[in-house]
């Protein structure tokens, strides 16, 4: 019997992903540990390694197929001694297994390869027909136990029930599980393709989740006006950015607080630390110190390290700092876990590693999913200040501008200091103005007297 290669789950909550491309072709020899394919999830690209050895007999799901459910057979591996005739019976097996909605995501789904610049117009409507297929868990085909309330809440919030585990009697998914998933940001939302599939009637069901393209259709406008354009297919990461930030900006009541911090002493301390650490290869960036300051300030003002849920505000007891990193594919926010309790050199080393792997698209899902607070720093581009969009379900994001020499008035006289503006975007449901201000006060105090960070 040929061995089925299944679509792997790259994280506990993953229900489907894009099979980005095959690294082996039909007929290729495969040994255990060989990379056979690349899978793209929300934000990361992961390699699928072969567990067994043999010949790649048949590819069941073509490269570039989106929304491939976890555990769907994606290829058949022929064991030693087996020939292609063994594929005959096996090939139909995946279809037979799922009697209700047979083929999970078959090769006919020839959506444009993600990330590739499509020369012909992409077919955004194509995945429409697949929506019902990818909605149900493929793995067991069994009944999904969930309370009516949980079902409705999942629908309203765009959560996949099959991605959640139930804590109710007999493992039933109940309200508490939905609330937990929302608070933790797990229970991955339905893919953007599925949401866009029902624009007409979907409005009531998931108003926040769709609508990245509000207003007149850009393509219609461009064609109408004869503006030449190319189309870049939306990658998974791009869709997630669109969905989550649209939802955030539309549903989270943002307000903004800005503070100016004198950076001179921090730059001084950094220089001294780097001189001392040179031998050990420690080279702290200003951003490392800012991360630490932001984290320690959260320890001092824990009310800002929180998230909104309908029943309660979650007050996180650990600071997991999401740090925005720009990559070629888009924004990603790897996490420095427990940042308030980590030393500067540990933060620095971790940040370098995370940023490098983020740019390579090699982060594991747990390395960028979660987080309790986000920092976004555009100082290196000379941006003076900006207001960031909150990264849900977190309550705050700190936007850090460039350090620059500015004239400031000290004791009635104008002096030149290196100043940095930082703007906190705040979810008003969770954090009121005064509390946000207290947080910035604590942050400013730590930046201006950075020895406090070394304690």
């Amino acid at each position: 019997m040929p061995i089925e290669i299944l679509m792997p789950a790259l994280s506990p909550t993953m229900t489907e992903g894009t099979l980005a491309r095959w690294m082996k072709a039909e007929g290729d020899q495969v040994s255990a540990g060989d990379v056979v394919a690349e899978i793209e999830t929300d934000k990361a690209t992961m390699e699928v390694e072969a567990v067994d050895e043999g010949t790649l007999g048949k590819i069941l799901v073509e490269g570039g197929t989106e929304n491939v459910a976890v555990n769907t057979p994606i290829a058949l591996l022929l064991a030693e001694g087996e020939d292609a005739s063994a594929l005959e019976g096996a090939a139909s097996k995946p279809a037979g297994k799922d009697k209700s909605e047979a083929e999970p995501a078959t090769p006919e789904a020839d959506a444009a390869p993600a990330n590739a610049t499509a020369e012909k117009p992409a077919k955004p409507e194509k995945p429409k027909s697949e929506k019902p297929k990818s909605e149900k868990p493929k793995s067991d085909g069994g009944r999904l136990f969930a309370s009516p309330l949980a079902r409705r809440m999942a629908e309203q919030e765009g959560l996949e029930l099959s991605a959640l585990s139930g804590s109710g009697p007999g493992g039933r998914i109940v309200k508490a599980d939905i609330e937990r998933a929302l608070a933790e940001g797990t229970g991955k939302a339905k893919p953007a393709a599925a949401e866009a599939a029902a624009p007409a009637k979907g409005a009531a069901a998931a108003p926040a989740a769709r609508a990245p393209a509000a207003g007149p259709d850009a393509k219609a406008v461009a064609e109408g006006a004869g503006i030449p354009f190319t189309e870049v297919a939306n990658s998974s990461i791009r869709k997630v950015i669109a969905r989550r930030l649209t939802e955030s900006k539309q549903t989270v009541p943002h307000f903004y607080l800005t503070v100016d911090c004198a950076l001179d002493r921090l730059l001084d301390v950094r220089k001294q630390l780097n001189t001392r650490g040179e031998a050990a290869g420690v080279k702290l960036s200003v951003n490392d110190l800012i991360i630490k300051a932001a984290a320690v300030a959260l320890r001092q003002v824990p009310g800002a390290n929180a998230a909104w849920t309908d029943s309660a505000i979650l007050m996180f007891q650990r600071v997991d700092m999401s740090v925005a990193v720009a990559t070629d594919n888009g924004l990603i926010t790897p996490i420095i876990k427990d940042a308030a309790n980590k030393g500067l050199s540990a933060i620095s080393a971790e940040m370098k590693d995370l940023a490098a792997r983020a740019r390579d698209g090699k982060l594991k899902p747990e390395e960028f999913q979660g987080g309790t607070f986000t920092i976004s720093n555009l100082g290196m581009f000379g941006i003076k200040e900006f207001g960031a969009i909150i990264n849900p379900p977190q309550a705050c994001i700190l936007a850090v501008g460039a350090g620059e020499q500015r004239p400031v008035v000290v004791d009635g006289a104008v002096a030149v200091k290196t100043m940095m503006s930082a703007t906190l975007s705040v979810d008003h449901r969770v954090v009121d103005g005064a509390l946000g201000a207290q947080y910035l006060q604590a942050f400013k105090a730590l930046v201006e007297d950075p020895l406090g960070l070394l304690l």
């Binding site: 309370s147 009516p148 309330l149 409705r152 809440m153 804590s167 009697p169 493992g171 109940v174």
Partner: protein, 461 residues
């Protein structure tokens, strides 16, 4: 020498303790229960059950005085309070005997006496030390006593004396308008006594939905009950035949002279003299502190029921007993008790029952709500029964359709509330409740109509 080593010892055989013991025995634990007084505890002997026997009599009395309405006539209707009390005691003792039988059937060892912990794993009764890996404290609670308002058992009663009057008092003051106070007030008023209720908060039955409180207030006032809210009993002066209470309300002081006073101002956990100090278990304001699995700070020592705090309800105690034991036994599918799903019933006339959040509480916790109401006057069965006063109120979360709470006042609502309790426990939304077929003609149809009304779809009103 009797056997003294057990897997589990339960201290107290009330509705928490005896249920825990039976469940433990079912799960194969060698179990003992220690009880100082009566099997079945307050509930069976001095609480829920005997008061229901009394209230049944007041209902009958009420019906007998409304015979004309139903086309009957009877002369010289009278009652003998002695016989009524005797019946109530008989009901209690029959059920206590039933508990004894159940414990025996499940091979639970019953130890008569006062048990005291001697560190974790040991309980001393008289001179015998019993050992068990797990000990559940289910010692219950007693009437709270306020300074200056101490009961004397003769003129100033607690629930216990109020349940076994030697003669029918002509006038009564009930201090406190929670379930216990209101039930006695209702009983004695229906039996013909002049009854005054004083409540320190601004409304009677303060844990109930404000609309239900107001409805009940009106109904009681119509029955001739005097109700003073926002009032405090400043002092009690006793004479040989009566008691004069000074009540301060709204800045004014008034006096009420009554034959008897019933104190019903809440209860205190029985945490004393049970050897708690020999363990790490902590108490907070008269109740033992436990986690969601009923575990105290001392490993192997648990506490359930009234002794761990409100709501002080027998069914809550029983349920906690089962959860606690199943957790000890290592069962997989055990879930902590969600207090929002514990129904509460008050057996006054009209009856009151509720589960979940009041409308005010729902709004306070940030819910946008949809509220449905349906009056008894719109229900065929209620009219046929001659019980046209009452209403059923439902509170839904406007966004998710979650049934947040249900609040009822009227005939038989204590038997209806479990419908909403099942709905809440299964996390149904308004849609499933609307799809449910309620039989006609029943009072339960109002439960359906109330849900429909919350969405502007009530048919019969």
């Amino acid at each position: 020498m009797a056997d003294t080593a057990f897997d589990l010892i339960v201290l107290g055989a009330g509705p928490g303790g005896y249920v825990a013991a039976i469940r433990a025995a079912q799960l194969g634990m060698k179990t003992a229960v220690i009880e100082r007084e009566h099997l079945g505890g307050i509930c069976l002997n001095w609480g829920c059950i005997p008061t229901k026997a009394l209230l049944r009599c007041s209902e009958i009395n009420h019906l007998l005085h409304s015979l004309d309405q139903y086309g009957f006539a009877a002369k010289d209707v009278s009652f003998d309070i002695g016989k009524i009390v005797k019946r109530s005691r008989k009901v209690a003792s029959q059920l206590s005997g039933g508990v004894k039988h159940l414990l025996k059937k499940n091979k639970v060892t019953v130890v008569d006496g006062h048990g005291k912990l001697d560190g974790a794993g040991k309980v001393v009764v008289d001179t015998t030390t019993y050992t068990a890996k797990h000990v559940i404290i289910a010692t219950g609670a007693r009437a709270r006593v306020l300074p200056g308002l101490e009961p004397d058992g003769k003129q100033v009663w607690t629930y216990k004396e109020a349940m076994v009057p030697e003669a029918m008092p002509q006038s009564l003051l009930v201090v406190g308008s929670g379930a216990i106070g209101i039930e006695f007030a209702s009983f004695y008023r229906a039996m013909g006594a002049e009854v005054t209720v004083v409540e320190v908060l601004d409304r009677i039955l303060p844990v109930e939905d404000a609309e239900i409180s107001a409805f009940a207030h009106k109904a009681f006032a119509k029955q001739g009950m005097k109700i003073i809210t926002g009032g405090k009993v400043a002092k009690l002066e006793k004479s040989a035949k009566d008691v004069t209470a000074t009540i301060e309300a709204g800045g004014k002081s008034t006096t009420v002279t009554v034959e008897k006073v019933i104190l019903a101002v809440g209860i205190d956990g029985n945490v004393e003299n049970i050897g708690l100090e020999t363990t790490k278990a902590k108490t907070d304001r008269g109740h033992i502190v436990v986690d969601k699995w009923l575990q105290t700070d001392e490993p192997g020592v648990y506490a359930i029921g009234d002794v761990v705090g409100p709501p002080w309800l027998a069914h809550k105690a029983s349920h906690e007993g089962v959860i606690c034991v199943e957790k000890i036994a290592g069962l997989k599918d055990v879930h902590p008790l969600d207090t929002s799903r514990i129904p509460g019933c008050t057996y006054c006339t009209p009856q009151i029952a509720s589960v979940g959040m009041t409308e005010a509480k729902a709004k306070e916790t940030g819910h946008e709500v949809k509220v449905g109401r349906f009056p008894y006057i719109g229900n065929g069965k209620a009219i046929a029964l001659g019980e046209p006063d009452g209403m059923i109120k439902t509170v839904f979360d406007a966004k998710t359709g979650e049934l947040l709470g249900a609040h009822m006042v009227g005939a038989e609502v204590t038997e209806l509330i479990q419908g909403y309790t099942v709905a809440k426990t299964l996390e149904t939304t308004e849609a499933e409740l609307m799809h449910t077929v309620f039989p006609h003609p029943t009072l339960s149809e109002m439960m359906h109509e109330s849900v429909l009304d919350a969405y502007g779809r009530a048919i019969h009103f």
